[in-house]
């Protein structure tokens, strides 16, 4: 049995190298398929990153009436911060608000604003609390907690309501993008499966005479089939390796351009692949192995009836 296995490996390697151009074309097509799949994975990750960034920018800003005691605002901030849905609470005092306001102007203008403000007795800017949730879905709960708070009466204005319509749109958009993405991915997966099936079928078809002779000499189906299946495993491994070899240098070359084009969008393309390298390429390898083994099994079946 071991002897037979050794021979199968030998025949698989022989086939692989002696049918060099056929192997090369098969690997080329498989590599193109892998690159297409990875393009979709990348596009998906990219969409997620964009949506995430928009979501990160959404916060609730609560403005208190100018007369409110700073200590009350701090207690309110602590209470809200204790909610499980809240990721981050930032307390902005009247003074901080003023500093921030001033820093928004050039030095020259600042002097004039200073002058104008000097005429007012007190700092006109309200103190405020900036709240961000873990996810967009958490905001309604936080809002109702704010409304039920003992300090609700001191609140003058809430910024969240401005985003509400936009958020609904974003949610819908996200869902549509996901749906379209899944649809396109399935569509392409089917096309790729067909291409792979055809490639393997042609490879085997072009060698059907050889299989016929082998059978006439007394080879069992298994003795013909096993090296071919092993060969198709080589195809998968080689083309995935080639894909990674193409993908990584290309992406690291493109990374700065992507960052610049999308205005500093913090999407680390390489990091994205690195962080789930095993999942991304593991699944691709697994599915291509299953596909190759199935299709070569099917294709051989058609040409082994002697």
């Amino acid at each position: 049995m071991l002897r037979a296995h050794a021979r199968i490996v030998k025949f698989a390697l022989q086939n692989f190298f002696r049918n060099f151009w056929l192997s090369a074309v098969t690997i080329f097509i498989l590599t193109l398929s892998f690159l297409t799949v990875n393009f979709f994975i990348l596009a998906n990750g990219f969409t997620d990153a964009v949506v995430q960034r928009i979501e990160d920018r959404i916060t609730i800003k609560v403005y208190f009436a100018p007369s409110t005691q700073e200590s009350d605002v701090k207690v309110f901030a602590d209470q809200i911060g204790a909610l499980p849905q809240v990721a981050l609470v930032t307390y902005i005092s009247k003074q901080q608000a003023l500093d921030e306001f001033k820093s928004g102007f050039a030095d020259q203008e600042n002097a004039r604003i200073e002058e104008a403000l000097g005429e007012l007795e007190t700092n006109p800017l309200p103190s405020s609390v900036l709240i961000s949730a873990h996810t967009v879905e958490d905001y309604p709960a936080i809002l109702s907690a704010i409304d039920q708070s003992a300090y609700a009466g001191l609140i003058e204005k809430r910024s969240y309501d401005d985003h509400r319509g936009f958020l609904t749109t974003l949610e819908q958009m996200k869902k549509k993008i996901r749906e379209a993405g899944t649809g396109i991915t399935i569509f392409f997966a089917l096309i790729i499966a067909l291409i792979v099936y055809n490639t393997i079928r042609i490879t085997i078809y072009s060698r059907r005479k050889e299989f016929g002779i082998m059978k006439l000499v007394g080879a069992s189906n298994w003795f013909i089939r096993a090296p071919l299946i092993l060969e198709s495993i080589f195809y998968s491994l080689a083309s995935l390796a080639l894909t990674i070899l193409i993908l990584y240098p290309t992406l690291s070359f493109l990374q700065p351009y992507i960052a610049r084009y999308f205005d500093g969008l913090a999407f680390d393309v390489l990091g994205y692949f690195n962080s789930s390298f095993v999942e991304i390429f593991g699944y691709q390898l697994a599915s291509s192995l299953v596909l190759n083994i199935l299709t070569s099994g099917l294709a051989i079946g058609r040409y082994l009836r002697v």
Binding site: R3, A4, R7, Q14, N15, R18, N19, R207, E210, I213, M214, K215, L216, V217, G218, A219, S220, F223, V306
Partner: protein
Amino acid sequence: MIKFDSVHKTYPGNIEVLKDVTFSVGSGEFVFLVGQSGAGKSTLVKLLTSEERPSKGRVEVGGWDITRIPRRDIPRLRRQIGVVYQDFKLIEKKTLWENVAFALEVCGESFHTVRTVVPQVLNIVGLEEKADRYPQQLSGGEQQRAAIARALVNRPKLLIADEPTGDLDSLTAKGIVDLLLRINSVGTTILFVTHNREIVNMLKRRVILIHDGGVRSDKSRAKYFL
């Protein structure tokens, strides 16, 4: 060794090639199978290796009824019969050595056996120096001898040669015939399919003539006449 019992063979499209063929060949015999081109000689060989199945009748090889042999038993049948095909049927992507070795490898012979037997057999057919060539790099006669080497390598009890001298000059053909006679002398049954009147007449062995889909004549120590 071989037994045909009222065998009919009709190819798809109602092409009736063999109608009622009956004969038998004993163990260790040397038999010529002759007949016009298209008479159905190669078809008869195909029935023996189960490449085709009889439409009617019974075929036996070595006492084994192969008329309705299950698919999974076919490789076992073929490993016991050496066949030299009319069109050689060498594997193009394998060297001469590998082609011959393959017949041993399918039987699961040890690496050692392969290494010792293959050169011996190549030596017998005089091709030991061309062992590393691919079939396309060999002449027609050399390919024919390579096919004989492959058919011999398993020491089959039955050797079927379909036109093994077709492409050879008469001197080389004589060499092949001598070789087959030698193989026959150690007990291997030989079924020699040929058109070659000269060889048939020279050897004066049993001759089975296939004509019009049946056995026209079957004579021992016969000459070839149509």
